[in-house]
Every structure is written in structure tokens, then in C-alpha cells.
């Protein structure tokens, strides 16, 4: 195994780990929502936190799961033509795709979400959706972390495509 491939395996395991952990947070979201329904109809006291908690968990769930989904090749492709290409042709599509599309946009989103979180931290921004008004910077920070994880997994995928492109071998 090449040294690069070793690094990529480490990246894979990071994405795999975060994916497995973050997949479990759907459960507290289910309970938060059910609690809200019961609180409203049975105790006649709707919660003030259910709304914010729900979107924060839902957002965290898929944002931190995006890298895992890339790792398991779960991001949908229209592969009618792609599958007809030889392995090197596919690698070329991916290398170009990562260079022209993936890296620029993900890097811009990392900086964008970092600024968003930093601003939220500095002005102590709170949610305007509910009277609970939780602080927003941690959730905005999660967006940034999600894109960083996605970028890192993207580097592994890119590196592998590059290897295939130059050697014709699939790692």
C-alpha cells in the first residue's frame, strides 16, 4: 500500500466514524418532536425549545453526514454515460470534477460558514424563530465542520481518482 493510500484510509475511517456517530442523533430528534406533541395536547404546555432543537439536529445530521455519504459513494450520479467509460475515463471525469467544481465550491463554503459562525459568535446572535432564543454560533460552526469533513473526504476521493488516471489501477 502506498503512503498516500494509507492517508486515504485514515480519512475513510474518520468519515466512517463521524457518520456512524452522527447517524444516531436522529433518535433524540424523534423524541424532541414527540415530546412537543404530547406537551401541547396532554399537558397543554407546548415547549419553547422543540422547534430550534429539531432543525439544529436535522441540520447537524446531514451536514456532518455528507462526508460519510461521499465515502460510501452515496451522492447520486446520473451514470448512464459514466458507466460506459473505461476506469481511466471515469477517473478523468472525477479529477476534473473535483478540481473545477468540488474544491472551489467546498472551500468557499468553508470560509463562508466560518465567517457566518464568527459573526454569530461576536454579536452573540440568537435564534429569532422562538421565544427560547438559543445562541446560533455553535450550529453555524457545525456547518463549517461539515464542509471541512466533506473537503477532507473529497481529497481522498480525488487522490484515488488521480492514481487511477495515471496508473490505470484502481486502489
Amino acid at each position: 500500500m502506498s503512503r498516500a493510500e494509507k492517508v486515504f484510509r485514515i480519512i475513510d475511517s474518520i468519515s466512517n466514524f463521524t457518520g456512524n456517530v452522527v447517524s444516531l442523533i436522529a433518535i433524540p430528534m424523534i423524541f424532541a418532536l414527540i415530546f412537543e406533541v404530547f406537551a401541547r395536547y396532554i399537558f397543554h404546555r407546548p415547549t419553547i425549545w422543540s422547534y430550534d432543537i429539531t432543525y439544529m439536529i436535522y441540520g447537524t445530521h446531514y451536514l456532518l453526514g455528507a462526508a460519510y455519504t461521499l465515502y460510501v459513494k452515496g451522492h447520486i450520479r446520473i451514470d448512464l454515460i459514466y458507466m460506459k467509460f473505461p476506469p481511466r475515463g471515469r477517473a478523468l471525469v472525477d479529477v476534473l470534477g473535483y478540481l473545477i467544481i468540488f474544491f472551489p465550491v467546498v472551500i468557499i463554503l468553508i470560509f463562508g460558514s466560518y465567517d457566518l459562525a464568527k459573526e454569530a459568535y461576536e454579536i452573540k446572535e440568537v435564534s429569532q424563530f422562538s421565544p427560547w432564543q438559543p445562541i446560533l454560533w455553535p450550529f453555524k460552526g457545525v456547518i463549517c465542520i461539515g464542509f471541512v469533513l466533506l473537503l477532507v473526504q473529497g481529497i481522498a476521493e480525488f487522490g484515488r481518482s488521480l492514481t487511477t488516471l495515471f496508473t490505470g489501477k484502481q486502489p
Binding site: A26, I34, H61, Y62, G74, L80, V105
Partner: protein, 446 residues
Amino acid sequence: MIEALTNSDYFVLLMFPGVLLSIFLGFPVAFSLMGMSLIFGYVGFGDSVSYMLIRRVWDVANNYILAAVPLFVFMGSMLEASGIASRLYEAMIQWTGRLRGGMAIGTVIMCTIFAAATGIIGASEVVIGLLAIPPMLARKYNKGLICGTICAGGSLGTIIPPSVVIVVYGPAAGLSVGRLLMAAVFPGLLLSSLYIAYILIRCLLRPQDGPGLPAEEVGMPLKEKLALTATSLLPPLFLIFAVMGTILLGWAAPTEAAALGAFGATILTTLYGKMSWQTFKDACINTLRISAMIMLVLTGGTMYTGVFLGMGGGEVTERLLMALNLSPWTMVFLFLLVAFIAGFLLDWISVLLIFVPIFVPLVSKMGFDPIWFSILFLVVIQTSYLTPPMAPAIFYLKGIVPPEIKVTDMFTGVVPYIALQLIGISIIMLFPKIALWLPEVMIGFK
């Protein structure tokens, strides 16, 4: 018509082929949409594009209604693991097996119940297909009929509420998800009735396509039959009530209803003794994979529409269409035709996100009810599951059929069902009340 456009108009319109190029070369749809938004947005807005794109990410990330997506996906994954499908299938066959084409009819009924209890297709089509195909093959059912029935029945999950497709559709069109879910109830049932009617008529005319079962095979005593039906049908009905009932009665928002459904499905799996740590973990990780896929395409799609509309693409499209001087009805037909054709080549979420934000405002402007149009559009999206080469329903089927079923059986098998979809669309066009009646009486919306 050409005079109506300036150079910058042409540039906006290039966005569309740009995205298609990237998608058809095979780069993931989500990143293709995001990347093209960045490239075109940068030309259009300069550095401020960065802020614009991250705002879009934020808008999707804090969207409460979209939290229903992972919940419905989880509910579906759990329900598949519960093993309820096999009991339900057994019960259905006891009732419909004697009829000509009865096993196919039983399959459609089961698909309808499953569709009303879950929000996704795919895995549920696999579960139903694995159950229903071998016995139908053993009875020498026509292979095309088998394939078409499984594909069309499996795709009902996209239109019969609850439906992930509708949850994604609502925000993209700027319409209420609750209202759309209500509006989709009768159109969904209409389609499954059309399927049943088709199977009945076909097997009446050609008994060799779907022979009835001999009496001794479905001769379960009535008492046992009722008991089996009760234990297999009541739990899904309970789930259907937990989700659609609470939405219809206005007790719960769609997101809350989805959580009730997810919880209910988990309880059900536990009661049937199918719950284990592995089952639970698989459901969680499946949910993550599918929702992250959907949400990223959705994020890319809102970026794309944001840039496209921000650069005046909507207005340019409108001017182009006005220059064509079409009647409003022709326009509706044109929009549906575009979506239908796109459905041959693209997946549902791309069709939805690329066209809906442009079509729906135009349709409203022409004086049509956007909910009515949306239901038509959603039926077209369901059809896109059946139209090859990009036909997810056929793709799932390929993974589970025994070798004696050929791909040609699948392609010929779905053709009559695609025709049925078009009949369904025509009926809803002629009788808009099929879609609009339920939301009107339930929430008094006009």
C-alpha cells in the same frame, strides 16, 4: 423571439446546459449544481457570490419542515425491517388470490398500504418484489405484468402521502407541505385504482397472463383469515393514522407527524420481535446516507435556482415563453412534457429542483391553482421512476429478479403503466377536485 434576448440573457440560459453537461458526464448531481452556481454566480455577482451561496446553505439547514425527510426515511427503513410486508402479503393473497390476476392485485393493494405508511420508495419496492415475484412466477403470471406491477406499485410511495418527494417539493415551490400532502391523497388512490382496473381487465381478456389460484390454496378458514388480516393490517393502519391522520386533523405539523411515524415503526418492529442493535444501526445509517444525499442535492438545487433567478433567468424564461405566444393550457402541457422527458434522463430530485422553482410561479401567474399543477407535476415525477434509461424502479427490480426475467420484460412491462400514469394525469386535469377537495374541507383553504 430572438430579439427578445440580450447577451446577458443568453449567458443566464447557458447555466442550464452547463449543469446538464456536468451531471451527464457523471459527476455527483449535488456538486454539479453547487459548482455551476459558483461559476455562473461569480461572473454575475463577483465576490458577493460566496455570501449568497452560504445563505442558501443556511436556509436549507434551518428549515424545520425538511427535518421530516430523515424522519420519513427512518420510518421506511424500520418498517422494512419489521417483516410486516410478508404477513400483509399473505393476508392480501388470501382475499384476492382466487381472482384472475389476483396476486398482482394483491401486490398493488399491498404497495398502496405500504406507500401510505412510508415516505420513500426503493427499499420498499425491494421488500415487496422479493415477496411477490416468486409466487407469481410459479403461477406462470406474464413476466411483463409482474415487472410492471412491481415497478409501478413500488413507485406509489412517491405520490401517496406521506412522501419525501412532497416534503422536498413544498419548499422548492413555495407551497405548504401539509396542503400538498392532503392534495395528494386521492390522486394517489386514483392511480392505484387504475392499476387494479388494468390488471382486472387484462387478465379477464387474457387469462393466461394471470391465472387465479385454485380454491385449496387460498382456503384458509375465515376466522384465521380475519385474524391474519387484523394482525397484519391494523399496525400499518395505525401508522397511517399516526402520520396522515394527525396531519389531516391538524393535530401535528408534518415534521411532528413524521416523528410519530418513525417512533411507531420502531415500536412495531420491536413488537414483531425483529428489533436488534444491528437492525437499529442499519436503519440509522441508511437514514443518514439517504438524507445527506437528498439534502445536499437540495442545497445545490437552491443555490442553482438562487443564482439563476438572481441573474434574471426567471424573467428571461418568462419572456421567451411569452414570445412563443402559447395559451395558458398549452403552457401547462409544455411544462409537464418537459418534466416527463427530463424524467427519462434525470433522477426525481434534479427534475424537481431544476424546474419547479421556475414553473410554479409562472403557472400561478397564469391563473391556475399551484396545488393542482403541483399534483400533476408530482405524478409526472412518479412516472420518471418508470421511464428508462434513468428509471430507479427498474434499477431496484434488476437487483432482485430471478434470471428467467429479462430486462426486456421489465421495459415492456412498464409501458402500460406509463400509459396509465398519463390517463391518471388527464383525469386529474379534467377533475381538479380530486386533488383540491381534501385540503379544502380539512383546513378550509381556498
